[in-house]
Symmetry: C2
Subunit: 231 residues, 2 copies
DNA sequence: AATTAAATTTAGACAAAACTAAAAATAGAT
DNA sequence: ATCTATTTTTAGTTTTGTCTAAATTTAATT
């Protein structure tokens, strides 16, 4: 088969696997000029370290990662941009699924994992427009802009909030299905206002007031909820 | 890697390539207990006959096609159902792109070729619902129902209509980009009412009246437009 | 019925992405 | 500074889907 455009071929046509590696490396911090280990990537992707090494060479060839044998992997600027564009697509599709198709926030990840690899600039831009340019996904994670900018938010973990402080629940750190279902069951949702009433020294659990009601929350839960502090 | 569910593995987890073969065989008539030749499939898919032979064996193993060496390929009932479910997805996505994202009818095919392979029953059902269960795609092709039924329509080619008959343009036979753009340029759209005024014996061209205006249409065009005859 | 042209299949090879097992390099502890 | 445990890489294999080239079967023609 002919390669009509070697430039496109080499620099833009990413395989699904390559895209997934870039995304994972980014999520592990490889965009902050930090070197990510082969093992860490393998563990995150449920694959073997030797497979990671193979891919590291391939992505390095393409100029998407910096890779030195035995020294770990980090993203180049090109790699960061590519990773951000995939994350952007993933999060926009998640919003679409929830807002337009009534998916619940624990159902969207799996499908978005597939949709994020659809190759069409126009498609994702139109989805963005249809959704009226959302800034956060259903789990409260920020959606990068087209040119790869993040809208940061002044948020902290609920577990780090001082007693008597108030804030709005804006995101989850753990977005696993069990955690999300737990939150649903306990009527904890993004947008809820939370006031920290008391902290228990013994087990670090919290007594909070949320939407009028008082409740107790374990440290494990509190340390996986992001809150935007009211000033 | 473990195969937790051999049944699922074998009968439901189709690769993209397998799905594309089934779709092509269906479009070539392999669902009508007709035997499709290796060459025909290869030509349609822009691949080599030897590759088709390989896939024929694989799909036969899976019970999706009937295949006898040197005698061609036809779809089993399971194969027909799988093909229809892919075609259903393809056409629903095409409607989505046009209706919800303002794609033009010549832009949708390429993207739908990707979207049709997304694996989520819920996703496509919700898209169907969002679109209010459309019966035809933007090119006038019928969308199979969930249980694989086609809504047939009493349509004929414009070139086969008798002089003085009237009908509504309901579909295109050729849905290539150049043809669709030609139609746009000449304001020929689905839904238009067309009356055949005259036929030219020499080149089989037609004189028609459409939406008030009179125009001349070549045989090549007329033989690629489906019309529903007014009774 | 034999011959030839066309279609089809086989055999062997390749690329991508994964794996296993063995070898090599690094880092931590003495 | 050396040894050892851990991490990482290499080498070789597998699977999927493709290819080319050669062999085989079918179909058409005389």
């Amino acid at each position: 088969m002919l390669n009509k455009n070697v430039f496109l071929e080499k620099y833009f046509l990413m395989t699904r696997s390559e895209e997934n590696y870039l995304k994972t490396i980014f999520h592990l911090g490889g965009g902050d000029s930090k070197s990510i280990t082969t093992n860490a990537i393998a563990e995150q992707m449920e694959t073997k370290p030797s497979s990671v090494t193979d891919m590291a060479k391939k992505l390095s060839e393409k100029g998407l990662v910096d890779y030195v044998r035995y020294q770990g992997i980090s993203l180049t600027d090109a790699g960061i941009n590519t990773a951000l564009s995939i994350i952007r697509k993933h999060r926009l599709w998640e919003v679409f699924l929830v807002e337009k198709l009534d998916f619940t926030w624990d159902e969207v990840h799996e499908v978005a994992e597939q949709l994020e690899h659809i190759k069409s600039e126009k498609l994702i831009d139109k989805i963005d427009e249809l959704l009226e340019f959302p800034k956060y996904d259903p789990h409260g994670d920020p959606i990068p802009t087209k040119d790869g900018k993040f809208q940061e938010r002044d948020e902290k973990l609920l577990s780090d909030m001082p007693i008597n402080s108030k804030g709005v629940c804006v995101g989850v750190k753990d977005s696993s299905v069990p955690f999300l279902k737990f939150l649903d069951k306990n009527n904890i949702a993004l947008g809820n206002t939370i006031k920290v009433l008391d902290k228990e020294d013994f087990d670090n659990s919290l007594r909070i007031q949320m939407e009028g009601k008082e409740m107790r929350i374990s440290h494990q839960i509190a340390s996986n909820l992001y809150v935007k502090k009211n000033d």
